[in-house]
Symmetry: C4
Subunit: 323 residues, 4 copies
């Protein structure tokens, strides 16, 4: 594993991020896992993924969008009926133009949703045509909504939460870079794999050039992700942080990039999650508070609210024992 | 395989279950494969997966839920029509308020399902608005139901059944830990992989601390899961059970955790199945009864009802021959 | 690869097929890839997969089933309306009972499909209730049909055809067991992997016991499956067929089982295909006819109808050169 | 990797493309990734994948097809109503046959979409039957459209663009074959793997026979495909291009085939992309222009329009340094 990584990440080019891309203060991966990158020259529509947007917005937003579109579309069709003349519709009872428009608007909704009470109905050729197209439009619209609804249902629902800070913590007589994750959903994740890559300007060794280092982990794969998981990079002789002080770390413009892969039982799909910590999101000399909350009703319990909690700790100066 | 396992499971931390989580009498994995864990501090909605619930309940429950929701929603809309006044609807024939409410309730169902006979229809502005919203609501509701129905269809339908007990059985001149599985569906599973992990307090070796041991299997992968499969862990010198007696086993608070991975031909998806046996679900000195039931009409036949059947057997004291 | 195979298949148990299952004349895998196995003791419903049946039948059968169900359901509801009395429906024009039943049947279809012209409509409480339930039923029915239609669309559409016979053919100065496959669809298959396993009673070596042998292949993986592929097992010193004559082969009750795995570009899914050849489907001393049909309009062309065509060929007595 | 490749591709047979398929001037893979192959003898329907066609056409085409089908189907049903006689429909107001046909056409659309105003409605047995079937037809049609719409949504939306030309460019003191790719969508691709295979007639070594060579790459896998990726095959001693001149290359009928595999975060699916460069799409002595466009608003920016831009460059005559 390590050797493959070393091959992949010794030079900046290999990550797909260019050298110039990594200026002081920028991050390559946002905390929500998206890439902090812009592509110029692509058309607006090329870049947008409407489907993805509709599928990942909240249900409230989604219902709002659908309802809004519903009213706008009916306003449009009501205007069309008005343009061809209200005499092409029978059954209107209103006497003023406004009253009639309201009635025609409702007739439009009855056509779009295919309710079609028939109290009002088209008699003229144009109104007949418009209402035929509108009902087709309505059915296509609801085919679309049905597709989006299922899309919302079927995508993996994982929500892996990361501790707010990463820590340089005491570890086996030495120190380790640690962060903690928990699965905030009830779906069951298995075969979880983690890769961690450090991107930093290491003034001591590389003449101020930015380099990428894969970080060796204590464990990079667990079979079942039932509780929380503290991911640990032991700061041993192989670590790029081996001889660094707190000051070095802050000046290195360090970004710790995290790639997680897991199998989601509920959706039977592989999921990928990314995040990153910048140097100012890493606390020097601290350790995480225990999340375990005893056994209640025969169930091992963890307190998710303590995920990010840590306390000051003195760092040993030795090298972590590796077994 | 073994070496990777050993790396992963030598210490308790590595499974994602904390040390304290494993007190006497608790199990980590329930027999249905869910984790026996509670996460505090997550909101109620964060943890729930409605989609998963609706997709995994029985068809009877599902139809009951849908029908119940249908009547409640129509009751709600019928009340709205009542609130804006029955004079906003034409075509009602009832004379008492109760008769009218029944009629309005049916009008509501005709709107929600978009049948819209038109015998009763809205004339006032408020009734028009409510019925427009109700028909939109109806279509969204059925988009939802359609999505759920497809979700129910498309998820893998595997049902791997485990023998009720695991056995310490005679095996090749020595003994083996055995359990038996069968695929209770007609879908065809291929590339089936099994991992077995023992979680136990081994008083002889680890000062009463709980440890996790991956168990070596006679075979851990089969290409086709057509009949039944007896999974065997040979109790040889490498086995954590090597020098244990029946009494040791019962005092070890043993839990044998099983992780199965397979490819489901019907849904073209990978599936993961879990289960576990606690020490009191393991029978010392027994062997499984043959499930094979001869060849009938040219088809090899097994009797699934015999899956869990076993009979007493004397255990040899030797070490299983491994080839 | 070979070593893993050897481990998996040296004994009968390892395939998941029991020893007794392999009596003379039975095949383990049918030519269509299903297992030739019966499981007793499972309930009728446990074993059936309705979804799979509806998704894999022909479109003609599917439309027939849907139309048939449509008419039966409406017959049922028409009978319900008849039972509560035709006076609960207004708008009927028929004078005889039969005429009225026809009208009510059509009213039922208009309710079930939610057309709801309103020419006939319910007035009584019972007819109102029945029509409310029927329209809900209709919508649920079409949610079901929509789910099935999408299920039919989205499953992989691969259709790998096998040559009718396998051949013992001349191969590199010796002989080889060969069969030929082609992808009969326009979808593009990549990363195709093949495993071949022989199940036979080898009277010379194993006292008449049935054994399973993985067969080494000349190539067991191709990156692109664009044309046809002749899969070759060289009969060299490692082959279980090395010293067998045509007569030995016929007496061995040989079954050559084939497992194919590929990635289907169109559905973005992994597919698995199985088939098998029994000893009487293997031709001794023959070779396949070339399927290549020249370059037409700049496209390399193969003639799929020649897939199974072969001609007599003299078998060399040497050992195939392996490089 | 290399060794496996060498095994797979040393002879022409191994790619699934026959020897004869590779005549001068043909390409095996089209630039859009499809195979340049024709299969004779398959039925028209066997080869077509309607679903694939409907799912991959543009939205405009799709809506056009649906609308066209809608009008044709209604024309068909309107003709049926005409054939059974307009006296089986009540509510028609037209006086000429043409006027009536228009009305009946609209009645048909109201039935097909299940709007069913009821202004016109069937009274006769035949019109009742036709309208019952038409409404069923309409619902099945929209089940179909809903399935197709979701199919359009859920397929991976990747659009990897290749530089128009591949280059023989200066590389680490020697030369390299290079091409450049970018992901033109906003979806995030991870775990991108590339395989490159050269198909050529190497007159110096193989007596003019076509051979397939896997090409070693500087890097064949990146974890994140956030920006652009220049894929490089170093022309070192192992390269089939090592002692070739520009003239040799043009006479070799070279085709460079590219297979890309990646994980698409948005659809949670694996995707496969193919393309190829023929000898006349490879520029000798040129290098790519930098696409990096500075950091704007804290985002590293690349200019996608420069993907294919290159400039003349002198090729060193040395061998690339490999580390």
């Amino acid at each position: 594993m390590a050797s493959r990584f070393n091959k992949l990440f010794t030079s900046i080019k290999n990550t797909g991020f260019g050298e110039q891309a990594s200026q002081q203060g920028d991050r390559l991966i946002n905390r929500d896992g998206s890439f902090n990158v812009r592509k110029r020259g692509l058309g607006f529509f090329d870049q947008l993924s409407y489907y993805h947007a509709f599928v990942s917005m909240s249900w409230l937003q989604f219902l709002g969008m659908v309802t809004g579109a519903f009213f706008l579309i009916n306003l449009f069709y009501a205007s069309l009926y008005w343009m061809v003349g209200y005499d092409q519709l029978v059954g209107l009872e209103g006497t003023t133009n406004f009253q009639k428009f309201i009635e025609v608007f409702y007739f439009s909704t009855q056509t779009f949703t295919t309710v079609g009470y028939g109290k009002v109905s088209p008699v003229g050729t144009w109104a007949g045509l418009i209402s035929a197209i509108e009902s087709l439009n309505g059915l296509l619209g609801f085919a679309l909504v049905t597709g989006l609804v299922y899309g919302r249902f079927s995508r993996p629902v994982e929500k892996i939460i990361f501790s707010e800070k990463a820590l340089i913590a005491p570890y086996k007589g030495g120190r380790g870079l640690m962060f903690r994750i928990v699965n905030a959903r009830r779906n069951q994740l298995t075969e979880v794999e983690v890769q961690v890559i450090a991107s930093m300007v290491d003034s001591k060794r590389n003449n101020g050039m930015r380099k990428f280092y894969p970080l060796e982990l204590e464990i990079n794969r667990i079979n079942m992700f039932a509780m929380s998981w503290t991911i640990v990079h032991p700061v041993d002789k192989e670590s790029p942080f081996f001889d660094m002080t707190e000051k070095d770390l802050n000046e290195s413009d360090l970004e710790v990039m995290i790639l997680i892969k897991a199998f989601d039982d509920t959706s039977s799909r592989l999921i990928h999650v990314r995040s990153s910590y910048k140097y100012n999101e890493i606390v020097w000399g601290a350790k995480f508070v225990n999340m375990f909350d005893g056994v209640n009703d025969g169930k091992a319990t963890i307190d998710v609210e303590k995920l990010g909690e840590y306390e000051k700790a003195t760092l040993p100066t030795g090298i972590p024992e590796t077994n």
